[in-house]
């Protein structure tokens, strides 16, 4: 009787990230969810890294050495970018939740995107030139 693809379901998770036909708010939602997933993934990685301490100082030092490679630095930059966006969008959601600046929520979203880009450039330069 029903179309599974038409129904809200975790099985249709890929549709959560489909912005076609949608407004800016869905972009805010998509980026919020992606960054949340990314930050959660990072949290687990972080625990794994800390878990190296239980093995011993040598294992930890070797692992930390690996983290100095450009690939891992880029990964850390992604974490920083996700943190900036997720935090700023959290402020947007918090403001609108209290009825503040609801008519300007799109402008706030564009503003926080600009801040995220500026932050990304700043931290990108800082992290890769350190």
């Amino acid at each position: 009787m029903s179309t599974p693809t038409n129904q809200p379901s975790p099985k249709n998770w890929y549709k959560w990230f489909d912005p076609r036909g949608r407004d800016l708010g869905t972009w805010a939602f998509i980026l919020n969810r992606l960054t949340a997933l990314g930050l959660t993934f990072y949290l687990f990685l972080h625990l794994i890294v800390l878990g190296q301490l239980a093995i011993g100082p040598d294992a930890y030092d070797q692992f930390v050495e690996l983290l100095h490679s450009p690939v891992f630095i880029f990964g850390e930059l992604l974490v920083v970018i996700a943190g900036i966006y997720h935090g700023l969008n959290g402020l947007r959601v918090g403001l609108t939740s209290f009825g503040i600046a609801i008519p300007y929520q799109k402008q706030i979203f564009i503003g926080l995107l600009i801040l995220t880009i500026i932050g990304s450039i700043y931290f990108g330069i800082t992290m890769f030139t350190a």
Partner: protein, 247 residues
């Protein structure tokens, strides 16, 4: 300036219409129509049914954005098709896609089962027609030849907001924008039983402030804003309950 398109300005538009019967897989059928671009999308759908395929199922009634029956997705965007001029969603010689609303079970072709929406609207006590003395705003009641005025609710229960909502797309449990806006008709102070329903995982706190509902609403209910107002009421009531329980 005459903005209307005359008969000589007919457009040729191919309508790509979602079809599904029973448990069969969904697919699209195409129908090439000569249309006046000032006509509405529902007119084209009706013509497809009348002259091309009598098995096409779709819902409609009033043709003037009051009944909320003809909500569909046109080119992926939720529209009340009786007030959506074809020239706003089509090009001469182009293709326009028509789909059923999202987040509701498809009954047949373009018809979806919106029973969950209606049940939830009843659950929050939303009434489409409200006597003025019961309005939350407490407006002065005027009489018309001795009869009380009644106010029609802005929400026409068309379901467009639920279809547009990215959060409703992720979970069927979410009460949804129309219902949360409907809960504000009485407010938590007037109907304390609402608090448990809306102050829940699938209530006001599930909303992620995408405001797609407000964009889609053809009746200017602004469900997104209403959800935020309801949140304020919920927070206020929680604080009040703290002091009540300390007495």
């Amino acid at each position: 300036m005459d903005m209307s398109h005359h008969q000589k300005d007919l457009w040729t538009v191919t309508f790509r219409v979602f079809r599904q019967k029973g448990n069969a897989a969904g697919h699209y059928d195409t129908f090439k129509l000569e249309v006046n671009p000032d006509e509405y999308v529902i007119d084209a759908v009706e013509r497809i049914w009348a002259y091309h395929d009598r098995t096409l199922a779709f819902a409609h009634a009033c043709h003037h954005s009051t009944c909320g029956a003809c909500g569909m997705r046109v080119n992926g965007v939720e529209k009340l098709t009786c007030i959506t001029p074809i020239h706003t969603v089509a090009k001469n010689g182009g293709i326009t896609q028509v789909d059923p609303l999202r987040n509701f079970p498809v009954v047949s072709d373009l018809v979806v089962d919106m029973g969950s929406l209606y049940q939830r609207m009843e659950q929050v006590g939303h009434r489409p027609v409200l006597p003025l003395p019961e309005e939350p705003a407490g407006l002065p009641v005027r009489k018309n030849n001795g009869n009380e005025y009644v106010r029609l609710s802005d929400c026409i229960e068309c379901g467009l907001c639920i279809s547009a909502c990215p959060v409703a797309l992720s979970t069927p449990g979410y009460i949804g924008p129309a219902v949360l806006a409907g809960a504000l008709q009485h407010g938590i102070k007037a109907a304390p039983a609402l608090l448990a329903l809306v102050d829940s995982e699938d209530g006001v706190w599930r909303c992620h402030s995408a405001f797609e509902c407000t964009k889609a609403c053809p009746s200017y209910v602004e469900p997104g804003t209403k959800i935020m107002q309801l949140r304020k009421q919920v927070v206020g009531e929680r604080f009040a309950n703290l002091f009540r329980s300390n007495r």
